[in-house]
Amino acid sequence: MAEFLQFAFSGLTVGAVYALVALGFTLIYNASEVVNFAQGEFVMIGGMATVFLVALGVPLPLAAILAVMTAIIVGLLLHRLAIEPAMGSSLVTLIITIGASIFLRGVAQIVFDKQFHSLPAFSGNTPISVLGATILPQSLWVLGGAAVIVLALWLFLDRTLTGKALLATAANRLAARLVGIDTVKILALAFGVSAAIGAIAGVLATPITLTRYDIGTLVALKGFAAAMLGGMGSPVGAVVGGLLLGLIEAFGAGYLSSTYKDGIAFIAILVVLFVMPRGLFGGRSVERV
């Protein structure tokens, strides 16, 4: 039981990060059908910028805020300079975001460095024991942070006019334009919010997972997988997919094989997709003729 709980805790912590990255994917995908491969770089910018600002003597909370703002600016610039001029073909924008991801990694290794970095845990390193298992205070920060973000995003989408405009754009871009929604601004907003979510995930997770200029690819890979597992385009699916992916990895590593934990996760995703070709929350597959 203690062992089971231990794996569940670590799975949920990692899964919360995947869920946040998957949410970022989903937001941008909904507003534009763009799959943003540079999503992982936002996580990297969040962590790395905070580390370097703290090293310059900036207090941690302020450093975190500045890092998130940096990521937002990068996200908005990415949309304005690279995505918007090329909107239309999803493969073209996919390659552009791949280029952007390589570019941001390249810039990060110049601006920062090529070393692994960590941050001090926000509330110390004394493990809290729960039913024989232990959980790090930082894990609670990650889980709590993810919960707050999900709640805030839900309120934003459900209760504000701008949020509803984003949902309308996701449902039908042309119809949204016809009722007077500026879909270009909505996409810019989606990029900004996604960047912020990614960067916050990066700040929260860095004390546990460490960070480096090139962590983005793996993070994007897992976030994308989580989004697809949940069903592309569904925010609920992104969160469930992320947590599930984290749990599968943790239990797979704990009970089966730690070398093959990524393999177990992908086999699980493949099995789900073979049974439900549009993911867990992806809705029915209908082709318009």
Binding site: V35, G88, I95, I98, I102, Y260, G263, P277, E287
Partner: protein, 317 residues
Amino acid sequence: MRPVSRLLGSRLATLLLIAVVIVVIPFLVPSTFHLRVAALVWISALAAVGLNLLMGNAGQVSLGHAGFFGIGAYAVALGPPQLGIPPLASVLFGAIGAGVIAYVVGRPLLRLRGHYLAIGTLGFGVLVALVLTSESAITGGPDGMAVQRLTVFGHRISGAQTWYWVTGAALLVGAAVALNLDASPTGRALRALHDSEVAAMVAGIDVARFKLRVFVISAVYAAVAGSLLALMNAFITPDAAGFLHSIELVTMVVVGGLGSVTGAIAGAALLVTLPQTLTFLQEYEQAMLGLLIMLFMIFLRRGIVPSLVSLARGRGA
């Protein structure tokens, strides 16, 4: 400009153009190092031409094609020492093996659409790379392993010059097959299902079968390219099967121009030579590479070759 475009349109002219480029390059490059880079271009181009059949002609995205590349590469690495198959036969063994694996995994995978197919193939590629990295007792793990040299009729194939011609010839054969396939009933069926699967089905095309066929063919291209790389370098690491390599192959196809054989080759040439030419930038190399990929895609949206051809015809990119 009309005659030029008509010439580019015909199959024989395209093959002739590729052949001329392959023959002329050795006279233009100053050293065997450059010849080696050119051979690397031909190898990547072979894989890209195959992937283009799947992506450009049939409209199916694979983010795991490096998996097949890795299968081909490790077939020639493991065949001789582990199974006693001579290197040349191992190339064939790898190609058939990749084809069979593509057939088996392709059946369920190709039922997935769009981004779901992308994540499915990605998962396959990750699994192949993971096995090659983890089974270090056989594969040497992440550090890779040495590959026995290729001998044909007691003749040892080595040296940049020899490999340049071997890979160039392989690319030419691959391009010829791809161009012919494009003009065959299969090619027309693929184009039809690319436009609309429902319409293709209504027209009597067995969509699932044709998708599977092109998936298997493109996997064989990737496997042969992988074998050639392993034999030429006499060394291979699991990175050849890795996710980043899959992404690189997709980028070659899209940057060069979806649906164009010469485009796939141009894309491969760009992505292989850019990192080599940008080394003088030192730490700025990666940033510049990413920036150039973005710029190419923003300004030549349909890919280098199709965009330049329509520019030449005066219709804008």
